[in-house]
Amino acid sequence: MSQPAIQMCLCGSGLRAARCCGMNPAAMPPPESSRHLVPLVERAVTAHRQGAIETAERLCLDVLELAPDRPGALTVLYQIRKDQGNHTAAEALLRRVVALDPNNFAATNEFALLLLAKGAIQEAEAQARNAIRIAPQNPQAHNLMGMILTEAQRPQVGEYHYRKVLELSGARDPILLANLAWNLKNQGRMEEGRELYKESVAAAPDIRQTLLGWARLEEADRKFDAAAELLDRMEKQWPNDPGLLLSRAVLLGRMKRTDEALTVLDQMAGQSTGGCLGPNELAEKGRMLDQVGRYDDAFAAFSEGKRLARELSGHHYLDGAAENLITRLGGFFTAGRLQTLPRASVRTDVAQPIFVLGFPRSGTTLMEQTLSAHPRIVAGDELPLINDLTGLMPRMLNSPLGYPEALAELWMGDQREGLDNLRDYYLQKVAQMGILTPLAAWFTDKMPLNETHLGLIALLFPEAPLIHVIRHPLDIMVSALSNHFTHGMFCASALETAATHYVRVMNLVQKYRSEMALRYLPIRYEDMVTDQENTVRSVLDFVGEPFNPKCLRFHENQRYARTASYAQVTERLYDRSRFRYRHYLKHLQPVIPILRPHIERLGYTVD
């Protein structure tokens, strides 16, 4: 008889699948039955501490084969796999430690950091919240929360946690100050951020990340000389630092010194192993080449940047998930069903949202800057809240179903006010973000692709203006190619998938619009450029606010937009971005057939 093959776990932990990711928790023996293994775990800890990694690894594998739920052995094995660069196994092991012992502060903290580093911000936030629940007076827990919320584009709440760290620790740690400064920069509070950077650098002058962050604050605040000075200062110490060089290239680009920027990028490529730039550097290089009219070279740089980003991040378009969600949304929001669903009532005591909808890179930032120049409208930026609500909804409505099917709970007597609760969650989070001012009657939410959730938005905010920024689909593709963004289930990881997602979302919008009465206004980006005043007037009319000439001078709006478009919207309106696709027509051939029906439906041509 042959022995059955041993199935090792695919995560790479070194354990059998049945003892690792394929483990059945219900079949585990009670913890006390494996207490005789405790001495082995202690030996593993000691061996690891002493650098005897092989011994420690063997001991851990032995222990976990017998008792896969021993947290000590799991923690040591996690450390070993992490140090070996085996991120998949490390994550799986640490996840198990946290699941087995939810009160383990160190593991929870570590796990949240790991998730943050990998970009899984929503999950990281859940772990950081746990860390604070476990240790509410621990500065480290609040620091973690500050970092995560800053990344999650809720810097106002993040600021609270950073300040809590200051209060709890009773000290002004220079790195904490730099983190807080970055947070304030993201809120557009440049002067306060600058002062904190100054304080941080005075206390610890040689921290690379601090100087880099400060330089980026100055660049974003259009203090190009100050930014250059900081980069010069860094250069003395870290002359070939990639972060420095990229910031230098970006700065030169903004100063219109494109050739010099390209030279810096070439220098970076020369220094790197293999002579290659990273994805961000390649995108920057492509943009520079575009500016000087070298379109073939620009396209090559963009494409290589996308390829490299896919390779390094492992992020590919979540094709199946996107299709599934969009099919379900289209199937759920039908006129017949909507006639039976309630709508949230409208709050009159707080500012109301204006949803600025559009595919990433279609001009939503420009629209928001324009609107928020109005005295009664403030910018909310890319609020992640609608997306959050789609995740929270099943729990908030006490439903066994997911989004959108969980909305069926609204038919139950005890969930009739369910939409009001969801609405209030959104509004409360907005209030916490501190974006509202006493004069504000409106705030914008310009999270790209919120149009995917038009049905939900219209149920929650039946009066909210929905401003959909439309742009030539091929121009959007050029922009998607030249920037890295994760919106739309990583659709921008390749040109074809960006086009596919665009078509899916636009078809869904069409479905929503034919099934629902929406307060919806499509606005063409091109009209914003060529017929600015009339376009702005029509948007303000639709919102119900009087025209204000300040909106035409949005580039004077001192507000800092956090997103990739910030450099563009601080310039006067320019025509360069309109029909930019013409330079890339031959490169765009693969996506033209995918997009053609929408190009025509929107009244554009390809020429």
């Binding site: 006129a335 909507l338 006639q339 409208v346 039946p462 009066e463 439309i470 919008v509 069409q510 479905k511 929503y512 619009r513 034919s514 099934e515 629902m516 009465a517 929406l518 307060r519 919806y520 206004l521 499509p522 063409r524 009339n534 007037r537 029509s538 009319d541 639709f542 919102v543 119900g544 439906r601 929107l602 009244g603």
Partner: protein, 485 residues
């Protein structure tokens, strides 16, 4: 000789004479099995591509299957190879008419009539085409020639009726209009009955059954006669489809409104609503116009006003629009437009388009990207109660010839109705007003099935602060499209 497969196995090929195959195809065609007929005819054409009868019948089948261009090609070829056959020419008329090639249609019809001088169907076709070309006198002449040959030809009587009515000769027109129920393929108005059609004489010793016949627009237009009927027959009840209850409730209590034949009470006589203008003796200068004769439910009006306020700021001029009628209407090709045709209106500042469109054409709202906001309120409208209440929130209704136009007009709302070159008879010819509704303004196509001029004219009228006939369609709100300029 051709051959046919025996059984599903397809192994044995049995020769079948082509004439027999053609006869079978003809049976299929007559019994409405178009796909089967199509398959057989194409089979014959593969062997005998120029056989005129097969080409002709294959053309008819393609036409019925909606493949009009193919139908035309086959029928033209049939005419080419089957010289001077009146039947082919008579049938190709309808294809030309459908494809809006009216010159070709009239030429073919005249040629057919010359080849088949004793065939009244050729003349009937000619009458229909002449009407569509707005050659009303010629239409009447053709119909009358057909009737000389075949005095009971219901289709020719009806063609004559429509022509008489549109030119304003209502006295003769109403009489001819009575032939409408005798057309061979006309939908039956009601189950067979031995009771007589009402002659208009008063009686109170029995029940009069009114029948809300024809389209919803007809019901809305002709329900105005119900008070006149009740003066003569107080025991009137009405049979209608359920959708019409909100309209008919204006005139009759709900226990006198029936929408199942089996629930209708026994009656002494019946009369379709569309037969009342004849009994009433309606003439162009004698139309009962108690407009508004329909009213919305105030509670619903308040709800819809609130809903509209949430969807469009009140600074906008709210224009309700309908671009298409029911696709099964036999005149739908001519009367329906597309949402995209409203582009000149969508370019006007200060205008919000409020779609009242229902049915499959409503999907076009999803693909609208014009400058004026479009509120697809039709998606929330459940019935005519809703539509009537919603109309109270609008400044103006602009519609092709649909029931919504009648509804708004019967409520006395400013209503602009957009008409084909050869519209339904009730809109008469050449005028921009109508004796039926005082608040209606008519916009007419100048070229057959071309809407662009009409919408340009509508946009110009909207932008004109003081149109010559400003009493009609005058906006209620202070801020007009022009004021927003």
């Amino acid at each position: 000789m051709s051959s046919s497969r025996a059984g599903d196995g397809g192994a044995v090929l049995v020769p079948v004479p082509m004439e027999e195959l053609f006869a079978v195809a003809g049976q299929y065609e007559r019994s409405g099995k178009m796909q089967e007929a199509d398959r057989l005819l194409n089979h014959i054409l593969a062997v005998a591509p120029n056989q005129p009868d097969t080409l002709h019948m294959s053309g008819i089948v393609a036409f019925r299957l909606g493949r009009q261009q193919e139908a035309l090609e086959k029928m033209e070829k049939a005419i080419e190879y089957g010289i001077d056959i009146a039947l082919y020419l008579r049938n190709i008329c309808e294809v030309y008419r459908t494809l809006n090639r009216l010159d070709d249609a009239v030429a073919a019809a005249r040629h057919a009539a010359s080849l088949g001088p004793s065939d009244p169907l050729c003349l009937h076709n000619l009458a229909v085409i002449r009407y569509e070309r707005v050659e009303i006198q010629e239409s009447i002449a053709a119909a009358e020639r057909a009737l000389m040959m075949s005095p009971d030809m219901a289709g020719a009587h009806f063609a004559r009726a429509e022509a008489l009515l549109i030119k304003g000769d209502w006295e003769q027109g109403w009489e001819e209009y009575e032939w409408r129920f005798r057309i061979a393929d006309a939908a039956r108005m009601m189950p067979p009955t031995d009771k007589p059609q009402w002659d208009g004489k008063p009686f109170d010793d029995g029940t009069l059954l009114l029948v809300a016949d024809q389209g919803f627009g007809d019901v809305i237009q002709f329900c105005r006669y119900i008070p006149w009927v009740l003066d003569r027959c107080p025991n009137a009840v009405i049979a209608c489809s359920g959708e019409m209850v909100p309209v008919l409730r204006e005139f009759l209590p709900e226990n006198k409104i029936f929408f199942r034949w089996e629930e209708c009470p026994a009656f002494k006589a019946f009369i379709p609503l569309s037969g009342l203008p004849r009994l009433h003796g309606t003439r162009i200068d004698h139309v009962p116009v108690a407009v508004p004769y329909l009213h919305a439910d105030p509670a619903r009006v308040a709800n819809w006003q609130d809903r509209m306020r949430r969807l469009v700021p009140c600074s906008y001029k709210r224009i309700g629009i309908v671009w298409a009628g029911r696709a099964t209407h036999n005149n739908d090709r001519r009367r329906s437009a597309k949402l995209a045709d409203f582009a000149p209106l969508a370019a006007l500042p200060g205008v919000a388009l409020v779609s009242l469109q229902k049915g499959p054409p409503a999907d076009q709202a999803g693909g609208y990207f014009g400058r004026a906001p479009l509120i697809n309120i039709g998606a929330e409208v459940r019935d005519y109660n809703d539509t009537m209440a919603l109309l109270e929130s609008l400044d103006l209704v602009i519609t092709v010839d649909t029931s919504v136009g009648h509804l708004a007009a019967a409520m006395g709302k400013p209503t602009w109705i957009l008409l084909a070159t050869s519209p339904d008879w009730r809109w008469l010819l050449g005028r921009s007003d109508t004796p039926w509704y005082p608040t209606v303004r008519l916009f007419r196509q100048t070229r057959s099935r071309v809407w662009s001029d009409v919408f340009q004219a509508v946009a110009a009228a909207l932008g004109d602060p003081a149109p010559p006939d400003a009493a009609v369609g005058k906006p209620k709100r202070k801020r007009s499209a022009a004021a927003a300029n």
